[in-house]
């Protein structure tokens, strides 16, 4: 579904991302982990054609994302608040996203009803603008809208951070369920190793813009990852 070829991103001479090759298949759940500055968000922005690659390309469904616009019809994404329209109410936002993707308002309403327990009262009662919601609720709106378009490719940056414990648990179940049911190609980045190993079947570790591990999740993955990042911490302390 997503092919990455010799993708590099440089900022004033410094290479922040360099990925020779990654293929992510349809129906694959792909987890991206790495410390701050490892290049996770940069990678996602490149896949969404939000920033210009210094070299190489990303193909989605066979189309170069920098050249065509068709991939936008089946890609749902939420990276940060820049994906929200802060002066709309949550319901207006869902309706707007629905309109852009040809989803009828009644379907939007049904979707929001189905998601009611995850979205919570603050969002469904539609009393305040998105800009006045808490960070956690803003995130829920963004993730919800990304899911609503029934995406073939779903890209979420740090979906678990800022969510309360119940919502984190609900989101994990939701993502696993949707991924099974709709065979989404799902890309998630996270600092929380627990969550990401639970949701994703494939984990890629980025360090300073390079892929240092690419593993299938198995019962030992979590402890392997923990060991890897613990050593990174020690290495920093020694420096």
């Amino acid at each position: 579904m997503i092919q990455v070829n010799n993708l590099t991103k440089k900022y004033v001479g410094r290479t922040v991302l360099n990925i020779p090759e990654i293929n992510i298949e349809k129906g694959e759940s792909f987890g991206l982990v790495g410390n701050n500055g490892a290049g996770k968000t940069t990678f996602f922005r490149l896949i969404l054609d939000l920033i210009q690659a210094s070299g190489g390309s990303v193909h989605s469904g066979g189309e170069d994302v920098a050249k065509g616009e068709h991939w936008k019809t089946y890609t749902g994404s939420y990276l940060d608040e820049g994906f929200l329209i802060e002066y709309l109410t949550p319901v207006e936002y869902f309706n707007y996203v629905g309109r852009l993707n040809g989803i009828h308002p009644t379907e939007v309403k049904n979707f929001m009803d189905d998601m009611k327990s995850f979205l919570g009262n603050d969002i469904t009662n539609n009393k305040s603008y998105i800009r006045d919601l808490s960070k956690g609720n803003q995130k829920k709106v963004g993730i919800g809208a990304a899911l609503m378009i029934r995406p073939e490719v779903l890209i979420l940056d740090e979906p678990f951070s800022n969510l309360d414990p119940t919502s984190q648990y609900q989101l994990k179940t939701l993502l696993k369920e949707w991924q099974n049911k709709h065979q989404m190609c799902m890309l998630i980045s996270s600092h929380d190793l627990n969550h990401v190993t639970e949701v994703c079947k494939r984990i890629v570790v980025l360090h300073e813009g390079k892929v240092v591990h690419d593993l299938e999740t198995n019962p030992n993955t979590l402890s392997e990852l923990e060991a890897y990042f613990a050593v990174k911490g020690d290495a920093v302390e020694e420096e």
Partner: protein, 493 residues
Amino acid sequence: MNYQFTALQIKRIQRSSFWQKSLVTNIFIGLLMLLLLFELLAVGIFLPSILEKSAKDIAPEVLLNQGLIYYFLVTFMMRFFIQELPTMEVTPMLHLPIKKTKISSYLNFRTLLSFFNFLPLFLFLPFTIIYMGAHFSALSAISWFLSIYFFEFTSNFLLVRIKRKSSVTPSVVLILLSVAAVIGILNYYNLLPLKEISGWYFGNLIKQPLLILLPLFTMLLAYWENHRYTVNHLYLENLVKKKKRSEKISSSFSGLEKRGKTGAMILNEIRLLLRNKRSKQMLLFSLPLSLLYGMFFYPQKVYMDHIGLLVFVATFISGGFLIIYGQYILAWESTQFDFILASNIHTEEYFKAKYYLMTIPTTLLFLLTIPYVYYGRIILELNFVFLFYNLGINAPLLLFSASFNRKRLELDKGQMMNYQGVGINNFLIIIPLMGGPALIYVLLDTLVGKNIALLIILGLGILGILLHQQLIKWAAAFFRKRRYQIAEGYRNS
């Protein structure tokens, strides 16, 4: 402590990307300011002779004394629309061991740095030195000047106090305007003889400098009231205002939502304009301004004979909204630009929606200005021709120029005197938008005469409208080439 607050403020300004990135714009604005101050200073220096000439049998200082009250009233009104409250980020200070009275007095003293508080230095200080100093005792001259300053500061603190409580909403504007109207009417029928009161007070002040205690007292009172209010309201809940959702006007447009994707995008933009402070003020000023623009020119015979000038008016009268809104046609949405890029929005569809957003209000504005035909048929003809020019040439031009604007626009601040997000491009684009049509007309007029010139311009406009699909395509393609830079600029505020 005050020193540290000031140092923090200077850092905040220096390190804001607005300051660092737009040096050229800042120099340009600085030059404009300098020019303005220079002109004010010139007025101040020539004030004695201006006053002498305007009324032969009244002494200049008497005339000025009578007028001062109007000066205070007018500047108060202007302050109301233009002066912003200082926005020192207080929140990170609240938990630190700093006394609230300290923060409060700093916040209040900083309001004195407003542009308006410097005006008397330019307007009245020269008069004080040149005229008052020569005709009265030094004590009289000094107390005369100081009392003006005390009144000015009273006005400053009074305004700040009002603004801390309420912002510039249509209802507040209405109240203010009606108060001004009542004062005006009372004054006109001599029930409230402002002129005499002002003349009496300042006249006596010259004789008895002790009268300066009156403005001193009002100033201290206004300051004290501000201080009391801020100290009592230095809490997070008061600083971070959560506005109540008001859903009245934009829901009446909700039929748009059924008109497919373009309709949904237009509805969304209408909501943007109506729900953000900066865009609301833009509408509040640009619409009446462009409608009433004709009133300044049409009644005067001098202007009616200069068609080149009327062309200028005609461009602005239907194009006022187009020009003011269209300059930031993409930047209005800068905070959610990643959403637009990653969503299922085809660039051409996006630009088409933007085109309609500029052209529909422009046409409506033209319809509203038809009554100006009262001043002559030529007015209607010109406005009609230049409506087509605006729709066919200026609107597509703005779609192209949009791709040069890479500054994020913060929508939660007021519009007046706010240069955040404004680049040198925004000044430059005015030249072809407003000057272009006038220049074309003048050139054609000398070559082929008035009527043919207007026909050619009408033809150009119609051609632009017929080709608008193609022009939108080109503008979209141009945008696609520059989209990364634009998005990058919008992301980094």
